[in-house]
């Protein structure tokens, strides 16, 4: 066996399992409709991988990832609307609610290349500016959580207010094609699912490399002892901003792929409620583990859909109870249950001696 297989056998097996489940099992057992649904959840899972990095490893309680999901989603949706309208054309809803003209800031998104770049670059830029400003001032913990949540709320309100340019409460929908591919063709729907699954796998691989890297170790150090890291010559604000930006990019890509799969993006997908929803999946799956956040997001989204199909009003309560149970009894999520089983005896160490106060 090569050293990498020996040392990382369990992780590699995890990747293989995710790949088989997404690329072989799911497409053969699920209907086109269900597969599309799973594709949407896969997009949520991408957001979750980013939250696992920022929150699980970096300790930043990111309660506003809907913003970055939404930025990616709206960029993609604007492109698809313009694409459907044809060269120089005006999207249908603008003729309905607006003055029948495409606003200037929409124009760049006619270009597929600019769109693809912007899907990652706009969330990255926003996250960098915000993150740097916030972390440099030492804003942490609950203050950061509240701030990021307020951001999500403000973003949703902004979108709702701009009906003529963002579709308002309805959001953007009614897409017919995705970079020239007909969205009503089941083959293309399947292709979109594979693209999303591939993107999720790549993000998991990226997260794995980050966790193994020196940066990953430093991020944990910043999470646990920010002050100490500072006195070793690092700028903790920079360390945290990097993780925050990566998480935003993952959320942006998830949002961008969500749009063609779901066929709609609206303020309901980006505000406070979905932002908290992302976090709950991560908490349940195990925020500091590699696969936990993505699995948690998939499971929670799946449970939400099944439960709300049968008991429409129950889901919110169920989600709340689940969250409380996990936070209270399994702070590391369900992933820690398996860790308990596998727990090997740690090398014997002397207990730390009591601090003597004799000299005071």
């Amino acid at each position: 066996m090569t050293p990498i297989v020996r040392r990382h056998g369990a992780t590699l097996a995890g990747f293989a399992a995710v790949a088989v489940a997404l690329f072989a099992v799911a497409p053969s057992v699920l209907s086109t409709f269900r597969l599309s649904l799973l594709g949407q959840f896969v997009c949520f899972a991408m957001v979750a991988v980013g939250i696992g990095l920022a929150w699980g490893r970096g300790g930043m309680l990111t309660l506003g990832q809907g913003v970055y999901f939404g930025l990616g989603a709206y960029v993609m949706a604007m492109h698809m609307k313009l694409d459907d309208a044809g060269p120089g054309g005006v999207p249908d809803f603008m003729q309905l609610y607006g003055n029948g003209e495409v606003p200037l800031w929409w124009e760049p998104f006619r270009s597929p290349v600019i769109t693809l770049v912007a899907v990652a670059a706009i969330p990255a830029a926003v996250a960098f500016v915000l993150g740097w400003a916030i972390f440099r001032r030492g804003v942490r913990g609950a203050y950061f959580a509240i701030l990021s949540q307020a951001l999500a709320a403000a973003f949703a309100i902004l979108l709702i207010g701009q009906q003529a340019t963002t579709g308002g409460t309805n959001g953007l929908n009614g897409f017919r094609s995705f970079f020239g591919y007909d969205l009503f063709d089941p083959v293309n729907k399947r292709m979109l699912f594979f693209i999303a699954s591939g993107a999720l796998l790549l993000m998991l691989l990226a997260a794995w490399q980050l966790y193994r890297s020196r940066y990953g170790e430093l991020l944990v150090a910043v999470r646990d002892q920010e002050q100490r890291v500072r006195f070793l010559g690092y700028d903790p604000a920079l360390v945290k901003t990097v993780a925050y930006v990566i998480a935003a990019v993952m959320a942006g890509i998830g949002g961008a792929l969500f749009v063609p799969i779901a066929g709609i993006v609206s303020p309901d997908d980006v505000g406070v409620v979905p932002s908290i929803g992302f976090l709950i999946g991560v908490a349940i799956g195990g925020r500091a583990t590699l696969f936990g956040p993505a699995l948690g997001a998939l499971i929670v989204a799946w449970a939400e859909t099944s439960l709300s199909e049968s008991f429409p009003s129950m889901w919110t309560y169920f989600q709340g109870v689940l969250f409380v149970v996990v936070v209270a009894f399994l702070p590391r999520g369900f992933a820690s249950v398996s860790a308990l089983w596998r727990r090997r005896p740690t090398p014997a160490t002397e207990p730390a001696p009591q601090r003597q106060e004799a000299t005071v």
């Binding site: 490399q209 980050l210 193994r212 890297s213 020196r214 940066y215 170790e217 430093l218 944990v220 150090a221 646990d224 002892q225 002050q227 100490r228 890291v229 500072r230 006195f231 070793l232 010559g233 690092y234 700028d235 903790p236 740690t346 090398p347 160490t349 002397e350 207990p351 730390a352 001696p353 009591q354 601090r355 003597q356 004799a358 000299t359 005071v360």
Partner: protein, 258 residues
């Protein structure tokens, strides 16, 4: 590195908290190779002085390391200039191994590419440091499982591994057993020979055994300074520590002090 010896020079350093002067006009000079102890009763301002030097507390006056003014710089910049500190309560990264702790300490100058890769072979500097602080056998243990004394050694190791030129140690032997104290003192003597070291300490026995020179801080100001013997025979020091000037000052044991 410069050929001339390093030194740390504080002049008229003041730190205020809402009008309260925790450090009130401290001037002192510490030379390389001179193991300096900073003592004084609780609340004298020792920790605040270390905070001022390392950029944690906002201060007035002047704090120079060689020719470089430290005041006004950000904490991580001061650290990069070679000024390292430990904290009164051991603050290692408990979730990381001893090796990872040292590797992080060694790496503030690493570029992005190195940072994004996993560590390959253990850097030689880290092996040497593990040897110096006596933690070679514990390198793969989580730092959180170390004893209190071992954590303090790891903290000192984290300064050595990045070759800090100034070491500011805030009560490094508090809570240590007698044997651990002796080992710590010997370690400080060894690493202090070519560094500028300030040890904040309460323990008089420890100070007597290892200090080259002593500065006594009281109510934010320097009360006395000199060799161990000079400071101990200073009636003002005896007054601060014991309320009166005792006749048997030499007999006071560590629990009577501070």
């Amino acid at each position: 590195m410069s050929m001339t010896a390093d030194y740390l020079e504080l002049s008229d350093v003041r730190v205020e908290f809402d009008g309260f002067r925790a450090v009130d006009g401290v001037s002192l000079t510490v030379l390389q190779g001179d193991l300096r102890f900073l003592i004084g009763p609780n609340g004298a301002g020792k920790t605040t002085l270390v905070d001022a030097i390392t950029g944690l507390a906002r201060a007035a006056g002047s704090i120079r390391f060689g020719r470089t003014e430290l005041l006004g710089r950000k904490a991580h910049r001061i650290a990069r200039l070679g000024v390292g500190r430990t904290f009164q309560t051991a603050s290692v990264f408990e979730d990381l191994s001893v090796l990872q702790n040292l590797d992080i300490a060694a790496g503030a100058e690493r570029g992005p590419v190195t940072m994004l890769r996993a560590r390959g072979r253990t850097p030689e500097r880290i092996d040497e440091t593990l040897e110096t602080v006596g933690l070679t056998a514990h390198r793969d243990l989580k730092a959180g499982t170390l004893s209190h004394g071992q954590k303090q050694w790891l903290e000192i190791g984290m300064l050595l591994v990045r070759d800090a030129r100034v070491l500011l140690l805030d009560e490094p032997v508090a809570g240590m057993s007698g044997e651990e104290r002796t080992r710590t003192g010997e370690l400080l003597r060894r690493v202090g020979a070519d560094r500028t070291v300030v040890v904040v300490e309460h323990d008089m026995d420890f100070m007597r055994s290892f200090a080259d020179s002593v500065t006594v801080l009281h109510a934010g100001s320097v009360l006395s300074e000199g060799s161990v013997a000079e400071v101990q025979s200073d009636p003002r020091v005896q007054e601060v520590y014991l309320g009166t000037a005792p006749t048997d000052a030499a007999n006071d044991s560590d629990e009577a002090v501070a």
